[in-house]
């Protein structure tokens, strides 16, 4: 099947009456080599991962710069360590984003962001995440922002004052 036949011109051997050295037909059996090659091929095909890790891009304003934002244009999101989300505009009283579990909360948050941003296109979102919260909580909230095409947001640390406001609720 997978042989290479190197015996050429068998018919010429007795030509001319002269006794030539008999050429032996060499047949190399290629089967094992091809087997190995296909084995390697399968290996490489199965181990190759074409996907590269995804990344989420964040643009922060340079340090030391402060921007004045009108109170009515500022939406503050506060995320606590047990993943309760509170939102408020300006200095209004924070309201909780309802949801039975994390996924429901995130969906509710997405809806809220969409509503608020279509109501006020100049809205700037400020995200404050509790230091004790998990990193994934922050990524989830950022993801929700990205999904709603909100690229004017900023991250701020959650300070004691924020915790007091939330505790007073």
């Amino acid at each position: 099947m997978a042989d290479v036949d190197l015996s050429q011109s068998k018919g010429k051997q007795k030509h001319g009456g002269k006794r030539r050295k008999k050429r032996v037909g060499v047949r190399i059996d290629m089967t094992p080599m091809v087997d190995v090659a296909f084995l390697l091929l399968t290996f490489f095909m199965l181990t190759t991962t074409m996907n590269k890790p995804q990344t989420m891009e964040i643009n922060l304003p340079p340090g030391g710069q402060t921007a004045e934002v009108a109170e009515s244009n500022l939406l503050t999101l506060r995320v606590t360590d047990d993943f309760r989300i509170f939102w408020n505009i300006g200095t209004n009283k924070p309201a909780a984003v309802d949801g039975s579990d994390k996924k429901a909360k995130l969906i509710a948050l997405g809806k809220l962001l969409k509503e608020q941003n279509s109501a006020n296109p100049k809205l700037i979102t400020l995200v404050k995440v509790d230091g004790k919260a998990k990193y994934i909580d922050m990524v989830d909230v950022m993801d929700e922002l990205n999904l709603n095409n909100i690229n004017r947001f900023s991250l701020a640390p959650m300070v004691e004052d924020d915790k007091k406001i939330l505790a007073a609720l």
Partner: protein, 151 residues
């Protein structure tokens, strides 16, 4: 009494084998083995579709216990930053206090470096926040967070 004559059946496999070798060569040349990781990190998932750049990346890894590692992708730069004996290691554990200095040094040596943060999804936000503040102080205001694609 004549049976149907069985025809000797020969299939020429040569083209298939050719294609096989071609594919083999392709996969062998394109395979990139996963770069070794400094720490075991479970990535958070997101819907973002940005791809991680191939080269000139500086990775700040934060593992589940809040340890911070800094890694760069070129051996040369690693040798300059962490000493020649550490050039084969993907990254080194660093203290948050010295991160700032290392970031600056790395960026002076290769201004094209892009910074990415690779955090474990269970790590405390505190550490990540400190890292991001450090980046901000070093005027790295555009950076990426490595995530998995959400299923």
């Amino acid at each position: 009494m004549s049976k149907t004559k069985r025809v000797g059946f020969k299939l020429d496999m040569t083209p298939m084998v050719d294609v096989g070798f071609l594919l083999l060569t392709f996969f062998m040349l394109t395979t990139q083995f996963k770069p070794q990781d400094v720490a075991e990190v479970v990535l958070p998932s997101s819907h973002s579709a940005f791809k991680l750049p191939d080269s000139d990346v500086m990775v700040v890894t934060v593992d589940k216990d809040g340890n911070v590692y800094l890694g760069v992708d070129s051996q040369n730069l690693r040798a300059q930053l962490f000493g020649v004996e550490n050039r084969l290691r993907a990254g080194m554990q660093v203290q948050l206090s010295e991160l700032s200095k290392l970031l600056r040094e790395a960026r002076i040596r290769n201004p094209k470096l892009r910074t990415v943060i690779k955090g474990d999804k269970e790590s405390e936000y505190n550490v990540i926040q400190t890292v991001m503040e450090t980046l901000q102080k070093e005027n790295i205001t555009r950076f990426n967070l490595v995530t998995d694609l959400e299923k």
